[in-house]
Symmetry: C2
Subunit: 343 residues, 2 copies
């Protein structure tokens, strides 16, 4: 192994990531490692919506370094699981597997001591795919968003947007486990059917063919107690209109806005938030870093009991990453979108 | 007294309240009272921005009756202080004064037992003007928004919009009392000068002549820890961009949006709320009904100690109500806007 194919960010995307923003380059790997260096071979790349956000320029006064930035000229950063294939670092033995954000490249040569984002060891017995999906950042975000922000009680009405997605499907099922009435919002009849028939949700709204605001009014006449939002934009706007008194909104993601720098331009009824005393809270799962193992074992227990179902959409081949990434934004993927490396 | 002039809502305003939406009518008062009826003579009307919201049609599924609705054909509802001039109710003696929402009319004939919004007795020794301003709903909203929602700590940076207004000026001063760095946003250099010179705020931004977002970035380079928002719209949008990690936003009012049914159309960087884990919370002061007396005595203590300054803009004459009300939305008032009845 001497060459390393990389998807390089050639320029900052202005809206959706386009082919012209990327360049496929082949870098040469060094013949030997420096002290405490590790060569990671990418096994799976997780195509997460937030990867698009990481391509935006960091603001001048940004002191919030919790998420990585992909700079122009660098390989696109994004969640991945990789295996150590060469190592001069005692804590990173050959064959060990690590969650990392080195992203869209076949190999990554790093010094883990200098990594701004700590690598997470994957247990030997673990299922790599699950570690990037239902037991990975997305499943954990679902868990913490429901348990720490929404705290829905039995009998309450819970709405999840992006409900057929990697995070949303787990959030919706956890809310069901708590005895809530759960309504999912997803794009297309196939996804909606999966939500109600396979996951047991009480109802699903197809935002591509139904008017979310009026449909919600029918399905949740007493208002929405907790909204787990992955989408934002017009869907956030529609759910805000339907929030119940003292409703809570957990902001997990805003995929509808990522191509506009995170800004929603849909009119938001903020005064409804005042009169109805609604609370909106943004969160990221790494805020509960010390509780991750506990959360993971809880989710795993639910999976083994058949109470949480999950699905992954695994594509194959390094060169297909950009095409697969575009599917995330059109909703053409079903479940966690992963790309398995060729060899 | 046999006649009662009333400003009647002739039709629902579509945007800003216009002359054509109102009609000045003279109703005839009955010669005698029914059992448990009370005749209230209006002393002062408080022109509160929310009066505009109360003119909107109540939504079908609205089970949140905490605020009154002005129906077409009825006198405009709004906060007022009135004196009992005739009574057949033992709890409402002649000469007693009451806070009520009977609004824009010279007299109100009511049965207090049936009132959807309870009347609040004004102590005999109390200053009626203060009871509608700094010790009234606006001062109390300022108090609870700071104490219960924002809970700013000494050294934190606090932003208040509508800072020269009835609620904002009190909120800003309470935050100063807590040792915060406080920046007010107001319209015009006179109001800004009042904030910094009279109230001792650390800085003021004139939204009419300065760009709020970039000015805030200069004045609060470490970000905003707590934002007390009375305005919404583009100002909310600009402050959201500048929120610090774990910042809190208390939504008290959204005057910029009232003429659009409470909906803000300014692009909101919701993703910033996610990455920075910002919390937004709507509130209304009546949620702390049982703590109102304690809050009022605390504010009163600060007033007596010279730590909280307040000012009222008192207009005269019943027929001037609509013109004065328009001043609220253009910012032409200074402090709590009241109309004193002619006699």
């Amino acid at each position: 192994m001497t060459s390393n194919r990389q998807w390089i960010l050639k320029r900052r995307p202005e809206a959706a990531l386009r082919d012209e923003d990327l360049e496929l380059k082949t870098a040469v790997l060094p013949a030997s490692l420096e002290r405490r260096q590790v060569l990671l071979k990418t096994l799976y790349v997780h195509l997460a919506p937030t990867t698009r956000n990481w391509m935006n320029p960091r603001r001048e006064n940004d002191r919030n370094s919790l998420y990585p930035e992909t700079k122009v000229g660098e390989p696109v950063k994004g969640p991945a699981i990789s295996e150590v294939v060469a190592s001069s670092h005692p804590d990173y033995p050959i064959g060990s597997r690590w969650f990392n954000v080195e992203g869209w490249q076949e190999f990554a040569l790093i010094n883990p001591d200098d990594a701004t984002h700590p690598l997470g060891r994957i247990a030997e017995a673990a299922d790599v795919i699950q570690c990037l999906s239902v037991l990975g950042p997305n499943g954990l975000a679902a868990y913490f968003g429901v348990e720490k922000i929404g705290k829905p009680q039995a009998g309450e009405t819970v709405i999840v947007s992006g409900a057929a997605g990697s995070t949303g499907s787990v959030a919706a099922q956890i809310a069901k486990l708590k005895g809530c009435k759960v309504i999912g919002i997803a794009g297309g009849s196939a996804k909606c059917a999966w939500l109600t028939r396979e996951l047991g949700l009480d109802a699903a709204i197809d935002y591509k063919s139904e008017r979310v605001e009026s449909r919600l009014r029918q399905l949740a006449p007493a208002g929405v107690d907790f909204f787990f939002d992955n989408v934002g934009g017009e869907i956030l706007s529609a759910v805000v209109e339907n929030m119940a008194v003292r409703g809570r909104i957990a902001l997990c993601g805003q995929i509808a806005t990522y191509n506009d720098g995170g800004r929603t331009v849909a009119p938001l009824n903020v005064m409804h938030l005042v009169y109805w005393r609604v609370k909106i809270e943004g969160f990221i799962m790494s805020d509960w870093w010390h509780e991750i193992e506990e959360a993971r074992s809880k989710i795993n227990e639910w999976i083994l009991q058949g109470k949480i179902k999950h699905r992954e959409d695994v594509r194959h081949g390094f060169e297909r990453i950009p095409t697969a990434f575009a599917d995330l934004f059109s909703g053409a993927n079903t479940g966690t979108l992963l790309v398995k490396m060729d060899s």
